[in-house]
């Protein structure tokens, strides 16, 4: 999980798996960071880490072209 105010490094990948944390350009919600809940044939379904996060249904299926990368590293406050 990302800490508030953390700096994060994302890397583009050919494929993503459930559990990956992605940087996504969402058509309605802007640039967001969410976890992959499920991987479909051509789309991904996302979920948030918090109970109050957007539901996967509200975010809808995500095309791979909207994914900017997978979280590979984060620098937290104090580092």
């Amino acid at each position: 999980m990302l800490e508030p105010g953390a700096f994060a490094v994302f890397k583009k990948s050919r494929a993503y798996a459930a559990g990956d944390v992605l940087l996504v350009d969402h058509p309605r919600f802007g640039t967001i960071v969410k976890r992959v809940a499920d991987v479909g044939e051509k789309t991904l379904w996302l979920e948030g880490a918090n109970a109050t996060s957007l539901s996967r249904e509200s975010m809808g299926p995500i095309e791979s072209k909207s994914v900017r990368g997978k979280l590979v590293y984060q620098i937290q406050r104090g580092a």
Partner: protein, 165 residues
């Protein structure tokens, strides 16, 4: 050290931003719901005390409903204020309004006091604290505010934004 360097680069606009923790990354924040909930707490206290009935069961029912709703409205105050404080107020705003942390903590404490008991003065204090929070919030939006008596019981002075159109 690394974080400080990145923070400096970020302050120069060299690093992109992404939302990960907000409830809905839509940028819509408004203290209005918190104020309505705070006023509702006072109203529910009034109804609990003023409600009269010859039927003791009906009176118990009324007071039980008031207590339940008071609990929910006080919790709503806490939730609404926490979201604005946690998601909307970023470092520059907090530097400009350093009293926000203390004010939010006071709101949390006072809302809890309203849940624990039925002291009207606690309810009035809660409304005043949320009014102060609303004034700070609208200041950050460069929107003037006015305190007007809300047009419904308990007819308390409430902060409203003065919007251009």
């Amino acid at each position: 050290m690394i974080y400080s360097i990145l923070n400096y680069l970020d302050s120069k606009g060299m690093i992109g931003r992404a939302s990960a923790h907000c409830d809905i990354p839509c940028g819509i924040y408004d203290p209005g719901p918190a104020l309505i909930a705070a006023v509702s707490v006072v109203r529910l206290m009034d109804i609990a005390y003023d409600g009269a009935s010859d039927d003791p069961v009906a009176l118990a029912n009324l007071r039980a409903r008031c207590t339940l709703r008071k609990e929910e409205e006080a919790e709503k105050v806490k939730q609404e204020i926490r979201v604005i404080w946690g998601d909307y107020f970023k470092a520059p705003l907090l530097e400009a309004h350093p009293n926000v942390h203390g004010l939010v903590h006071s709101i949390m404490q006072k809302a809890s006091a309203c849940k624990q008991d039925v002291h009207r003065e606690d309810g009035l204090a809660l409304v005043e604290l949320v009014n102060e929070f609303a004034e700070i919030f609208w200041t950050t939006k460069s929107v003037e505010t006015v305190r007007k008596t809300c047009p419904y019981p308990p007819k308390l002075k409430v902060v409203y934004p003065v919007l251009a159109d």
